[in-house]
C-alpha cells in the first residue's frame, strides 16, 4: 500500500512545483497581495468617494439615494467654495514657486565643496524630514499673537512698535502668507535634494565640452544643465504639487482655515464638511474637485518626461 501511495503524492507535489516554477505564475502570485491590498483600500474607497459625491449620504442619515450632480451644483454656487478653490491654487503655486527658487539657489550653494558640507546638508534637510505636523506647531508658536519671536525681533530692531505688531495668523492676507511660507519652507529642502541629484547626474564631460566650446556659467546652466535635469525636476514638482494641493495639516494646525475662512483650502474644506459636520456626500464632492487638477498635473508631467527621454 505504502509504495503505491508514495509516488502519487510525489507526483502531485511535483505538479504544484511545476506550476510554481513557471515564471508568469510565480510572478502573479508574488505580486498579488500588494495589488489586492491597494485595490481593496485605495481602489474601492476611491469608487466609494465617487458614489458618495452623487448621493445624499451623511453620518446622521446614511442613505444611498442617488441625487445626481446636485451636490456639485450646490458647491459651485457657493461663493465661499470658489474662494477656497482660489486659495488652494494660490497656496500650491505660491509655495511651489518660492520653494523652487530657494531650492535652486540652495542646490548651487551645496554643489561647491566646502568644509562641513555634509553637516550643512543634514541641517538643511530637516524641514522636509521632520513630520510636518510637528514643525507646524513650532511655527504656530513663532507666529503667536502675543509671544511671537518674529515680532519681538522686529520690535527690538526698531522696525515696528508693540502697538502695531502684526497678528500673523489673525489677519487674512498675512495668514495666507504664513501658510505659503511654512509650506515653501517645508518643501524647498526637497527641491534642493532633487536639483542636486539632477545636477550630479549630468556627465562632467558634457559640461567640460560646453566650457571648451566657450559656454559661460549662465549658458552652461540654462542651455546644458537645466534641459538635462528637467525630467527629474518634473518628478519632484509632481510630488510637490500633488502633496500641497491636497494638503490639510498645515492649514488645520496653523490657521484652522481662519480668519473667517480666508485660508481655507480644498483638503481642509473636505475635512470640515465631511468629517466635522458629518455631511459625507458634500465632503466627498469637495474632495473630488482635486481630481481633475491632479490628473492634469500628473499626465502632463509624465508625457513631458516621456518626450524628453525619446
Amino acid at each position: 500500500m505504502v509504495d503505491i501511495a508514495a509516488p502519487v503524492t510525489a507526483k502531485s507535489a511535483s505538479r504544484f512545483r511545476f506550476i510554481m516554477d513557471r515564471r508568469e505564475v510565480l510572478g502573479s502570485v508574488l505580486v498579488a497581495p500588494a495589488v489586492l491590498y491597494v485595490l481593496l483600500l485605495v481602489g474601492l474607497p476611491f469608487l466609494l468617494a465617487v458614489y458618495y459625491s452623487v448621493s445624499a449620504y451623511s453620518i446622521y442619515n446614511p442613505s444611498w439615494r442617488f441625487v445626481g450632480l446636485t451636490n456639485f451644483v450646490q458647491i459651485v454656487h457657493n461663493p465661499e467654495f470658489l474662494h477656497t478653490l482660489g486659495n488652494t491654487f494660490l497656496f500650491t503655486f505660491g509655495s511651489q514657486a518660492l520653494g523652487l527658487v530657494l531650492g535652486k539657489f540652495g542646490a548651487f550653494l551645496l554643489l561647491r565643496p566646502f568644509p562641513g558640507r555634509r553637516i550643512v546638508r543634514a541641517l538643511i534637510i530637516l524641514p522636509w524630514a521632520v513630520p510636518i505636523a510637528l514643525s507646524t506647531v513650532a511655527w504656530q508658536w513663532m507666529f503667536d499673537s502675543l509671544y511671537s519671536v518674529i515680532n519681538w525681533s522686529l520690535i527690538a530692531a526698531g522696525i515696528i512698535t508693540r502697538e502695531d505688531a502684526p497678528n500673523w495668523l489673525g489677519t487674512p492676507h498675512l495668514a495666507m502668507l504664513c501658510i505659503i511660507v511654512v509650506n515653501a519652507w517645508r518643501f524647498f529642502p526637497f527641491a534642493i535634494v532633487i536639483f542636486l541629484a539632477g545636477i550630479t547626474s549630468v556627465p562632467q564631460d558634457v559640461i567640460d565640452a560646453a566650457t571648451v566650446d566657450g559656454a559661460g556659467f549662465w549658458r552652461r546652466n540654462y542651455q546644458i544643465i537645466m534641459p538635462m535635469i528637467l525630467p527629474i525636476v518634473a518628478i519632484g514638482l509632481i510630488f510637490g504639487i500633488v502633496f500641497t494641493f491636497t494638503d490639510l495639516s498645515i492649514v488645520l494646525l496653523l490657521t484652522n482655515g481662519g480668519p473667517v475662512g480666508t485660508t481655507s483650502v480644498l483638503g481642509f474644506e473636505g475635512y470640515q464638511v465631511g468629517i466635522v459636520s458629518g455631511d459625507v456626500a458634500h465632503g466627498a464632492a469637495i474632495s473630488l474637485f482635486m481630481l481633475p487638477v491632479l490628473f492634469v498635473v500628473v499626465i502632463g508631467m509624465l508625457r513631458f518626461i516621456r518626450r524628453r527621454e525619446i
Partner: protein, 280 residues
C-alpha cells in the same frame, strides 16, 4: 586686489550658507529653547526670547512624561510602525521582485500603476475609508491606522524595491535553479540575503512614513489614549484655548529627532527611489 575680492566672495558664500542653515533650523532651535525654559521666562514679553533669562528647567519634560499620555503615544506609534512595517515587507518584497523580473508592457504598467497610487491623496480617501473602518469595527482605534497606512507604504516600498531588484543580476537565481532550487527557492535563498540593505531601507522609510502621517490619524482616531505621537503632541496638549507650549515643543522635539536622523542616513536611497526611472 584679487585676494580681496576672493575674500569678499567667500564671506558672501558662507554668509548665504549660514542664512540657509538658520532658516531651516530655527524652528527646531525654537523647540529646544522653549522646551527648556521655565514658564515665567517663557511668558514674559520683555525677556529676550532667544536665550535663557532664568535657569533652564526640565519641568516640561517631567510633566510630559508624568502627567500626559506621552509615553502611551510613543508606544502606540511604535506598535503601529512595527505592524505596518511587517505588512509592508510581506507584500512589497515579493511584489517588487516580481515586477523587477517580469518583462513586458503589463508588468511595466502595473509598476507605474502601483507607484501612482502613492500619489492618491489621503484627503480624497479619508471619507470612504472612515466608513470602511467603521464597518470593520475599528473606529477610534489605533488599529485602524495599521490597516490604512500600508495603502501608501506598500506602493512606495514596492517601487523602491523594484529598482533594487533590477540591479541584481538574474544569473544568480539561474545558477541556483541549475543547482536544483525552485524558482521560489532561488528568490528566498539567493535574492533575499542579497537584499538586506534594501530591506533595511524599507523598514526605516515605512517607519518614518507612519510617523509623518497626520491626516488619517486625525480623521480616524479621537480617543486620547489611541493616538500616535504626532497626533497626540499636536492636538492633545491644548486644554480649551490654553496651549502648553513648553510641553508641546518638548514632545515635538522628542518625536522629531529619530525621524531626522533616519532621513539623513537614508536620503540618497530615498531620492533614487522616488526619481526612479527619470535618471538613467
Amino acid at each position: 586686489m584679487k585676494a580681496l575680492s576672493k575674500t569678499a566672495g567667500d564671506v558672501g558664500f558662507y554668509g548665504t550658507v549660514a542664512f540657509f542653515v538658520v532658516m531651516t533650523t530655527f524652528p527646531f532651535y525654537w523647540m529646544v529653547i522653549t522646551s527648556l525654559k521655565s514658564n515665567s521666562d517663557l511668558y514674559n514679553v520683555t525677556n529676550i526670547p532667544f536665550w535663557f533669562n532664568e535657569a533652564p528647567t526640565l519641568e516640561h519634560f517631567k510633566y510630559l512624561f508624568e502627567q500626559t499620555l506621552f509615553t502611551r503615544w510613543l508606544w502606540n506609534s511604535l506598535v503601529i510602525g512595527l505592524c505596518v512595517t511587517a505588512i509592508t515587507l510581506v507584500t512589497a518584497v515579493p511584489a517588487g521582485y516580481s515586477l523587477a523580473r517580469m518583462s513586458g508592457r503589463s508588468a511595466e504598467s502595473l509598476g507605474i500603476g502601483i507607484f501612482l497610487t502613492y500619489l492618491v491623496p489621503p484627503t480624497l480617501l479619508f471619507l470612504p475609508l472612515s466608513r470602511i473602518i467603521a464597518e470593520l469595527g475599528l473606529q477610534n482605534s489605533m488599529w485602524s491606522l495599521v490597516v490604512v497606512y500600508p495603502t501608501f507604504t506598500i506602493p512606495f516600498c514596492t517601487w523602491l524595491l523594484m529598482g533594487f531588484f533590477k540591479a541584481i543580476p538574474p544569473e544568480i537565481e539561474e545558477a541556483a535553479i541549475v543547482d536544483g532550487c525552485s524558482l521560489f527557492g532561488a528568490f528566498i535563498k539567493m535574492v533575499i540575503p542579497l537584499s538586506v540593505p534594501a530591506i533595511l531601507t524599507v523598514i526605516i522609510f515605512t517607519f518614518t512614513l507612519t510617523l509623518q502621517e497626520f491626516v488619517y490619524a486625525l480623521t480616524f482616531v479621537s480617543a486620547a489614549d489611541q493616538k500616535p505621537i504626532t497626533l497626540g503632541v499636536t492636538t492633545d496638549l491644548v486644554r480649551g484655548d490654553v496651549f502648553f507650549w513648553g510641553e508641546i515643543m518638548a514632545g515635538a522635539l522628542i518625536a522629531s529627532i529619530p525621524v531626522a536622523i533616519a532621513y539623513n542616513l537614508f536620503l540618497d536611497r530615498f531620492i533614487s527611489g522616488i526619481t526612479g526611472g527619470a535618471v538613467k
